[in-house]
Amino acid sequence: MSRRHAVERFAQAAMLLSTVAVVSGLVLTVGVIVANGARSLNWEMVSQLPSGGYYLGGSGGVLNAIVGSLILAVGATVLAALVALPVALFLQPEYRGETRIAGVVRGSLDLLWGIPSIVYGAFGFTLLIYLGMRASLMGGIVALALVELPIMARAMDEVLRMVPAELREASYSMGATRWETMRRVVLPQVFGGLITAALLAFGRGIGDAASVLFTAGYTDNLPRSLQDPVASLPLAVFFQLGTPFPEVQQRAHASALILLIVVLIISVLSRVLTRRLTRFAVK
């Protein structure tokens, strides 16, 4: 067999092996969570707040964490999108695309992306103390938004950069301004991609424990205002896994399963919605 054929085989084998590694990783993770958590997962768990002695194996559920996580992640995603979209637009050819400033902004976002979320948590905590606030829903949303912002902005930037120059030019040649072109042509064209970018950030946000540890706190109750502390699913998993009781540890897996299902539902919903809203996009 010639050397070229050997290389071809090797490349194919490498691709296959990597794919198998990725897929089996997913299957194993989900499998372990389902195997350990499914037995503890029941209606009581998703519909009730923890009652006394829940962490010792008592009755109740993790409704506080489910609601908390949803509010935290949705709030943070909305807040991050309010900043990420303008940043991403600013990086396009119409505004500062391909200039040195754009390079600096992109580089900064990439760096921010790599910062561990516990650092954002610590930063948020310092900020809260400076402002004289305590761990609260507000603090958690802001810290999570910081975690989500770089991913969302860069993902949106990449999506926007995929819009062909000819499409923008078609709009300009009709006498449209930059903003009109953005608003009426570019954004509708990439709407699906922008939603995906927001989802990516949402997924990271809702699963993040470290950034909300100091900033959102933890509580067995539902928050009544932005100033109240709030529970979250990742922390619920963390605390339950930390107990010495096998029963409670099993509930940790069930909580993780709930987290997975929440992400799945939101992802499917937004994909369906996106498909309906982007039927005009030009291929």
Binding site: P93, E98, P164, A165, E166, L167, R168, E169, A170, S171, Y172, S173, M174, G175, A176, T177, E180, R184, V185, P188, Q189, R279, F280, A281, V282, K283
Partner: protein, 250 residues
């Protein structure tokens, strides 16, 4: 009808000189074909006329382009008003991500037409002008991207005409079309030249012979020769034009 007068137009992209000292007056109400081999600057010439060159980075434009006596390259020139005057039809039809109706209504809406009935009338009139109306009148609300390529190009023509431009800039408008669709478009051009000044960039020599009243021959960024079609095709004076027309260079 706008009058176009180009004086000493030079365009460079970084170090690459795309156009060198082009000076020409475009005849009104006629089809002027810009011909020449690939990379000779035809498209750059066209794009300078509605300042789409602004979109490229590192581009430097000098000289004057006078449209009705006003230099559009001057600082402070109103680019959106200029582009409204110059309809553009590009090589590949580029429909906008919206319905067929909204594609045609895009320009008029930008320029302030809000009245529903008037928009309806404008859309129908221009779709008819582009001979597309009968094919799409029952699905005006459908995505424009669902049309065939030939239909898309006619939609782009309708969209371009709907802002009531005075000049049509066409960059190889039939290059990606099947022969039947191409013929459709060519026929339209012949009718439209009564009311519009048409500048047609083409690398199809036979198309230029069929349609052009006036011809500009470009080579390596220079405007080598220009004149009435008959004269230029039958008796080119420059050896480079002769070489191109006889097929020595293509």
């Amino acid at each position: 009808m706008a009058h176009i007068d180009v004086r000493n137009l030079s365009v460079t992209y970084g170090r690459h000189q795309a156009l060198t000292n082009v000076t020409v007056e475009i005849p009104d109400g006629a089809i002027s074909a810009v011909i020449g081999p690939s990379g000779c600057g035809k498209t750059t010439f066209l794009r300078s006329l509605n300042r789409l060159t602004d979109m490229s980075r590192g581009v430097h434009v000098s000289g004057e382009v006078l449209i009705d006596g006003e230099n559009i390259l001057a600082r402070g020139a109103d680019v959106t008003a200029l582009r409204r005057k110059m309809g553009l039809l590009s090589q590949r039809p580029q429909v906008l991500p919206m319905s067929i109706y909204d594609n045609v209504a895009y320009g008029p809406r930008l320029h302030g037409v809000r009245d529903r009935k008037r928009l309806d009338a404008i859309v129908q009139q221009h779709l008819e002008l582009a001979s597309l109306w009968s094919e799409v009148k029952d699905r005006l609300r459908a995505p424009a991207s669902g049309l065939s390529v030939g239909q898309q190009q006619r939609l782009c023509l309708a969209r371009g005409l709907a802002v009531e431009p005075e000049v049509l800039l066409c960059d190889e408008p039939t290059a990606s079309l099947d022969p039947v669709s191409a013929q459709h478009i060519e026929k339209r051009f012949v009718e439209l030249k009564q009311e519009y000044t048409i500048i047609l960039v083409t690398h199809i020599l036979r198309q230029a012979r069929r349609l052009a009243d006036y011809v500009l021959y470009m080579y390596m960024g220079e405007l080598v020769e220009h004149g009435p079609a008959e004269a230029l095709f039958n008796a080119p004076s420059d050896p480079r034009t002769q070489a191109y027309l006889s097929g020595v260079i293509s």
